[in-house]
């Protein structure tokens, strides 16, 4: 890093151009991410259409309580994230730091709950393979393969987000941001909201299939 992050880099002419480039870059990256998850959602749609009953039955074994708590945690973290960006805009580094730390803590809490849930899932023989829970139709395994992959990749994204926001919090502490320069906070926020939105899709698809119908 040759330049301090607030400085104008060689390839740009003015600060607004640099900021717009960074923001557009983040949106383009998120477009990539949508397609990355898209392949998983497509597999899910295909198999759920092919085996609706097996999917409904398999979904009943997900732990609704943990899923719901996590949904609440992640939605709240998006609120604190939005507040952090607002604080940055207002050059309020103290509250920027606090809101970033709160967001990080919510993220860690999410992973903690997810860990407990995974532990319980494994205890319930819901890890696909030869020891998979008996009594479910064979196609239910595909649901659980997708469950592990989708929530796993999502958890990986949450972890990346936690690292990213921790760096932002440290930088905020060192007074690196102001109302004139807070692009990294804003872009990390975009990423965090994206991770949140993915969960909003995962939650009903994995936990709520025919929950009350069967």
């Amino acid at each position: 890093m040759n330049n301090p992050p607030t400085a104008l880099q060689d390839q740009f002419v003015e600060m607004p151009q640099q900021k717009e480039a960074a923001t557009l870059g983040m949106w383009t990256f998120l477009a990539t991410e949508v397609l990355f998850f898209g392949a998983m959602f497509m597999s899910y749609i295909t198999y759920r259409t092919a085996y609706p009953r097996a999917f409904a039955l398999a979904s009943h074994h997900t732990i609704l309580l943990f899923g719901t708590i996590n949904t609440a945690i992640l939605l709240t973290s998006s609120l604190t994230m939005a507040l952090a960006v607002q604080a940055a805009k207002e050059s309020n580094s103290r509250w920027l730091f606090r809101f970033l730390v709160a967001t990080v803590l919510f993220g860690v809490a999410f992973l903690g709950v997810k860990g407990l849930e995974y532990h319980q899932d494994i205890a319930d023989h819901l890890w696909p393979g030869p020891h998979f829970k008996s009594g479910l139709p064979p196609e239910a395994q595909i649901f659980w393969v997708l469950y592990w992959i989708m929530t796993g990749v999502h958890a990986l994204h949450v972890t990346v987000g936690i690292v990213l926001l921790s760096i932002m919090a440290l930088m905020a502490r060192r007074q690196k941001f102001s109302g004139a320069y807070y692009t990294p906070v804003e872009n990390s926020g975009l990423y965090w909201h994206f991770v949140d939105v993915i969960w909003i899709f995962l939650y009903p698809l994995l936990y709520l299939i025919h929950r009350y119908a069967a």
Partner: protein, 558 residues
């Protein structure tokens, strides 16, 4: 304007300004560079390695196929050879070829910028690409992969007994390098255009690179996830695509081709962009129908996402899906044909000269047209059932990928070589190589159309004796083609020292990259250029005179 090695090392003379090549001479200054021009060259060096290995695999295949009996290599080795050839050529040569080498080098200069939008990310892309490449080479060296470049399940995930995971991981990782390159180009073209460089004043190479980048960003992640799902099934033995476990192998094919068909356009759109530059420059004419050519690139990128199902006409896809995908595949031929017609119209009554890049461009038009038209044969469901998995398909996509993309890459490399190195390549040898390549290519691949139509399946190391004559022709052509590739390699290296010094604008071309010195300084331009008009303003009088000269005089002059 080149600083040569002979010039004093201690005093840099004032009238020999520093170029991007002399900015630093240490290895570190190259490996840690953020200069888009140097990164382009880094890509060029690494691509040469992958290309050579993949080309050797092809040469061994062509050797085996000279005789009908499978007498040189076993069928397992042959499977590995075509897999190495396919994977390395597609992901480690063709996809980065024009975008990462020429695109990196000229995109910022063409728009009058000092660098790409994210220079450090650009360098990171190169490292990611080569980490992926190293994994792929590891799998090649330690036993190879025998699945074919398509990794069809359940063979790849359950039965294949080779280094599938290492190769898939290599492609997975390299894919993120491609995504980041595409992302960088999109933002660069959006945000770094010089004053006055409006969208419709951009050279057409930029339109094609923009469309390519969109495909890179939106298609590559799907491949990454698809390969990851395949690997998960292979590692843990859990069912994703395996029909034994309730999975659907055709879903793998859908996901794979959802990436790989658009990727075919990553492997042709940049070539089309280069050819638009070459045709206008060497016929000294404004491009015919600028807007149509520009939007044809966008249309190809969009339609390219909607045609993947034509790879599965015989894979158990419903007949209705087949009809729709067949129709959509025909649609792609419309923007492609628009381009070919517009290039032809640009040539019409232009003052054409046959420098090496132009020979490649003209070769491209011919070969791409053959490749495109035979693509229409394959888009027809009925005929495709007859020729699926035969050499007809092999010949078709080699006409696009080698006849099209590699030809355009060579054309572009010759065209920008003076800008890149500050030296001219030997023109006569260049023309000779272009001709050898054209002849060698056609001799290699045209017989394969006949072979395929007669029913020779692809991916077998032994075949019925009546196919031998065409296979011998093809192998003979391959050796000529090999000479055609070696020749430029030799004279390009020779030209670095002994080539004539290149002026700033040896082709008298329009385009901002020719406004700066050859080779350019680190930040491309002394001062940011201002654009005042459309591209390809090839001297009106020049063309005017050519138009009004009587035909006889014109012929005498040329």
């Amino acid at each position: 304007m080149n600083t040569t090695v002979e010039s004093s090392e201690i005093f840099v003379p004032a009238r020999e300004p520093k170029t991007y090549l002399t900015e630093g001479r240490t290895l570190k200054s190259w490996l840690l560079t953020t200069d888009h021009k140097r990164i382009g060259l880094l890509y060029l060096y690494s691509l040469l390695v992958y290309f050579t290995i993949a080309a050797i695999a092809a040469a061994l295949m062509r050797l085996e196929l000279i005789t009908p009996a499978g007498d040189m290599v076993t069928s397992e080795t042959y499977n590995k050879l075509f897999t190495i050839h396919g994977t390395l050529m597609v992901w480690f040569f063709l996809i980065p070829s024009i975008p990462a080498v020429l695109g990196n080098f000229v995109i910022p200069m063409m728009i009058g910028a000092r660098d790409v939008a994210f220079p450090r990310l650009n360098l990171l892309s190169w490292y990611i690409f080569n980490i992926g490449g190293s994994l792929a080479l590891y799998s090649v060296l330690f036993g190879g992969v025998d699945t074919g470049w398509t990794f069809y399940t359940p063979y790849s995930s359950t039965y294949a007994n080779s280094h599938v995971i290492a190769m898939a991981a290599g492609i997975f990782i390299a894919g993120f390098g491609t995504i980041l390159t595409g992302l960088n180009f999109i933002i660069t073209i959006h945000k770094l255009r010089a004053p006055g460089m409006t969208w419709f004043r951009m050279p057409l190479f930029l339109w094609s690179m923009y469309s390519t980048s969109v495909i890179m960003v939106l298609a590559t992640p799907v491949l990454a996830m698809t390969l990851a799902l395949m690997s998960i099934e292979r590692i843990w033995g859990v069912g994703v695509f395996d029909p034994k476990l309730g999975g659907d192998p055709v879903l793998f094919q859908h996901l794979f081709w959802f990436y790989s068909h658009p990727a075919v356009y990553i492997m042709i759109l940049p070539g089309m962009g280069v050819v638009s530059e070459l045709i206008t420059c060497f016929s000294r004419k404004q491009i015919f129908g600028y807007h149509f050519v520009a939007f044809a690139s966008v249309a190809i990128a969009v339609l390219g996402f909607l045609v993947w199902g034509h790879h599965m006409f015989v894979a158990g896809e419903s007949i209705y899906a087949g009809i729709v995908f067949s129709f959509l595949s025909y649609m792609v031929s419309v923007p492609s044909a628009i381009k070919v017609f517009n290039w032809t119209m640009t040539l019409y009554r232009g003052s054409i000269s046959f420098e090496t890049p132009m020979l490649y461009a003209l070769g491209f038009i011919g070969l791409f047209t053959v490749g495109g038209l035979t693509g229409l044969f394959l888009a027809a469901v009925g005929l495709d059932v007859h020729v699926t998995d035969t050499y007809f398909v092999v010949a078709h996509f080699h006409y696009i990928m080698v006849g099209g993309m590699v030809t355009a890459f060579m054309g572009g490399l010759h065209y920008w070589w003076p800008k890149i190195t500050g030296r001219m390549y030997p023109e006569k040898l260049g023309q000779l190589a272009a001709l050898i390549m054209y002849i060698g290519f056609n001799l290699t691949f045209f017989p394969q159309f006949i072979l395929g139509y007669l029913g020779m399946p692809r991916r077998y190391h032994a075949y019925a004796p009546e196919f031998q004559i065409y296979n011998v022709m093809s192998s003979a052509g391959a050796s000529i083609l090999g000479v055609g590739y070696l020749l430029p390699l030799i004279y390009f290296i020779w030209s670095l020292k002994h080539g004539k010094k290149a002026p700033a604008n040896p082709w008298n071309a329009t385009g901002l990259e020719w406004q700066t010195t050859s080779p350019p300084p680190k930040h491309n331009f002394k001062e940011t250029p201002v654009v005042t008009g459309p591209p390809y303003q090839y001297s009106a009088e020049e063309t005017e005179i050519a138009l009004h000269k009587p035909a006889k005089e014109q012929r005498a002059a040329s």
